[in-house]
């Protein structure tokens, strides 16, 4: 028999409501630690949306990298470094008004533009059920190793993968210098007076 509730829509609405509500909360709250926590919830809900869309790999990465890695680091960073005067950030009413105005305008623009694509709405439950569910992790991994499963005549992303590794090398060197600055012998006046 027909299920009275169409569950994909239910979960979509649930996850998107959580993501949007906590995204707004990030902007509204003046406390940095709470901001970071709300961001965790918002990003976790976004991961749920990725799972719903059938992008299991991206969803898992969203949880592992953003929720699990970056944000835990961010919360620790905020808790360890912030002094009282930085914990709470006050924005003036003018700034809040400006940001709201720009944000609302941009949102309306994007929403109207996205609605203008006919293929992006109007799928029935029947049509959705017919879309084959494909694994995403294995093709992605093969693609990064140089083989494209979907179109074998095109080369994969091995060189891209290598370029990213150069990025990480540069980032690590830069981070090491920035973190070492306090002990530097050559003197670093940004921290020497702090």
């Amino acid at each position: 028999m027909e299920d009275p509730i169409y569950w994909p829509s239910f979960f979509f609405l649930l996850f998107s409501a959580i993501a949007c509500a906590f995204a707004v909360a990030v902007v509204v709250t003046p406390n940095v630690v709470r901001m970071a926590f709300y961001l965790v919830l918002s990003l976790a809900a976004t991961a749920g949306l990725f799972f719903l869309a059938g992008a299991d790999f991206v969803g898992a990465m969203q949880i592992m990298i953003y929720v699990g890695g970056t944000l835990v680091l961010l919360i620790f960073g905020v808790m360890l470094t912030s002094q009282d005067r930085f914990i709470s950030m006050k924005t003036s009413n003018f700034e809040l008004g400006m940001a709201t105005g720009v944000g609302v305008c941009l949102f309306i623009l994007l929403a109207v533009a996205a609605r203008s694509i006919p293929e992006w709405h109007g799928l029935t439950a029947q049509q959705v059920a017919e879309i084959p569910l494909e694994p995403t992790a294995a093709p992605l991994g093969m693609g990064l190793l140089g083989a494209r499963v979907d179109s074998p005549d095109r080369s994969g992303y091995l060189l891209i993968f290598e370029i990213i590794s150069v990025h990480l090398l540069v980032v690590l060197v830069g981070a090491a210098y920035l973190a070492r600055a306090r002990r530097s012998r050559s003197g670093f006046s940004l921290t020497s007076d702090g």
Partner: protein, 496 residues
């Protein structure tokens, strides 16, 4: 699987100069730390050894570039054509000049990392030109910006330098996010990241389908790239960053992000006018108006603000904003006019690189005695203390003004002719406004020349030992500026 390996091999042969640079970058990063001891001391003269290694890598890359095939080769991720060939030559030669300017601007301890960052920036610039995919384009753009943050920090580690680095870092990240967001909308409309396939998707779509999304994605990408060009209203960082950093970093920031930004826009602009713009390389009507507004605002703000500056680096920052405005005119016109806008931009980039690197090289050439030239007062009466530097600096400033007999004159003339020969009202207005701005610009460049030659010197003339590397770079730039005026055909012919 053998087929896959063959594909990787064929892709790798397309980017041989970059692979040479990559090898040097790895060597510098990996060996560099072992030559600095626990206490943070390095053997004296280490920076010279790393400098020679970087020069060697760049020369090898140049040889690979000369030997390389410059016919059209296309692959999923990279596409080699005349534009890539030209941009590669430009960035490798600029890289050699920048290594020379960096010579005495970095201490021994940080030299390995600084040169490695410089080489990876050059590599990123080449890859931006070669990119044929949104993913490779974005990664190449980041390969330019991330090492720039490190280089800015390594160059000057005091309070002002730290502030300049942080300002650049935060705004640059913001601009990268804008570009990425714009790219994701473009992917959303077309369903692919490959430029060739994006073009096919846009040409074959239903009329006006996804028009709104395309416009949004174009606006976002343009906004993000305008940060690199330092175009108004994304110019705020430039004066503070230039003032707070060293001569070599300022020279780098005035040229390389512009090369990167314009080459990326040359790739992406045709996407804005997808159906009819692709063949003739021109933006569609709305993008034209947007670019024209950006160009006019950028020219005027850059030139008018430069009038008020007494710190030379700050003045050069506003001047670099103004020059971005001139070059944006070339984008507005596109390739419809008899003198193509794209050719005019590429020519101007080369001449602008010579002048701006030349100015910063000469300003820092005297830095050997710890007294870099930074303000108006330092330039006063320079012709009596350092006649050669004053003459060469004057040549570079004439070139920036756009006076004959320098290459800067030809660069401006090309852009002017491009705009005028377009035949539209917009083209005529832009050409007139550009001439007006060149006149405003002449005031503050020539004021510096007058300061050097007409004012009496504040200090007693005393012999100063010149640093040979920046001195060499400055001389090459000034001489090449004049040589290109005499024989511009050589450069013009190499433009695709």
């Amino acid at each position: 699987m053998p087929q896959v390996i063959e594909q990787i091999r064929s892709t790798a042969t397309l980017i041989v100069p970059e692979i040479v640079l990559l090898a040097a970058v790895c060597a510098l990063f990996l060996v560099g730390p072992f030559l600095v001891n626990e206490a943070g001391e390095a053997p004296a003269g280490l920076r010279k050894r790393w400098g020679f290694l970087s020069l060697f890598a760049l020369v090898v890359a140049l040889v690979a570039w000369c030997d390389g095939d410059h016919s059209l080769v296309q692959n999923g991720l990279f596409r080699i054509d005349g534009l890539v060939w030209y941009a590669r030559g430009l960035s490798l030669i600029a890289g050699i000049l920048l290594v020379l300017v960096l010579w005495n601007q970095i201490d021994d301890v940080h030299s390995a990392e600084a040169y490695a960052c410089l080489l990876s920036i050059v590599m990123g610039t080449n890859l931006v030109a070669a990119a044929n995919d949104l993913i490779s384009l974005f990664l190449a753009l980041e390969l330019v910006s991330i090492p720039t943050y490190v280089l800015l920090y390594l160059g000057k580690r005091d309070r002002i330098g730290g502030e300049a680095t942080l300002k650049y870092f935060l705004l640059s990240i913001f601009s990268s996010a804008l570009v990425l967001y714009g790219m994701s909308w473009l992917y959303g409309v077309t369903g692919t990241t490959n430029f060739t396939m994006i073009r096919d998707a846009l040409v074959n779509r239903a009329p006006h389908a996804g028009e709104g999304l395309l416009e949004i994605s174009f606006a976002l990408i343009l906004a993000g790239l305008c940060f690199r060009l330092a175009a108004v209203p994304f110019h705020f960082y430039a004066p503070d960053v230039f003032q707070g950093t060293t001569a070599s970093n300022a020279a780098l920031l005035s040229l390389i992000p512009k090369v990167v930004g314009f080459v990326a826009l040359i790739h992406l602009i045709p996407l804005s006018g997808a159906t009819d713009g692709w063949e003739r390389w021109m933006p569609d009507h709305e993008s034209k108006l947007l670019l024209a507004a950006l160009a006019v605002a950028t020219m005027f703000l850059g030139n008018l603000m430069a009038l008020r500056q007494s710190h030379i680096y700050r003045l050069m920052a506003y001047s670099s904003i103004a020059h971005a405005g001139y070059m944006l005119i070339g984008l507005v016109i596109g390739d419809t006019a008899p003198v193509g806008g794209r050719e005019a931009i590429l020519f101007y980039l080369a001449t602008y690189g010579l002048m701006t690197i030349g100015v910063f090289a000469l300003l820092s050439a005297r830095a050997g005695d710890g007294q870099p030239l930074k303000t108006d007062a330092d330039l006063r009466g320079l012709s009596r203390v350092q006649p050669m530097i004053a003459v060469l600096l004057a040549v570079c400033l004439f070139s920036l003004t756009g006076l004959p007999p320098t290459a800067g004159f030809l660069g401006k003339l090309n852009l002017f002719l491009t705009a005028w020969s377009d035949g539209t009202q917009l083209g005529h207005v832009l050409a007139i406004l550009m001439a007006l701005n060149a006149a405003i610009g002449a005031y503050y460049y020539l004021r510096l020349v007058a300061l050097m030659f007409l004012e009496p010197s504040a200090a007693e003339p005393q012999p100063v030992r010149l640093a040979w590397a920046p001195w060499l770079a400055g001389t090459v730039c000034a001489v090449a500026s004049i040589a290109l005026f005499v024989a511009p055909q050589w450069l013009w012919d190499s433009i695709p």
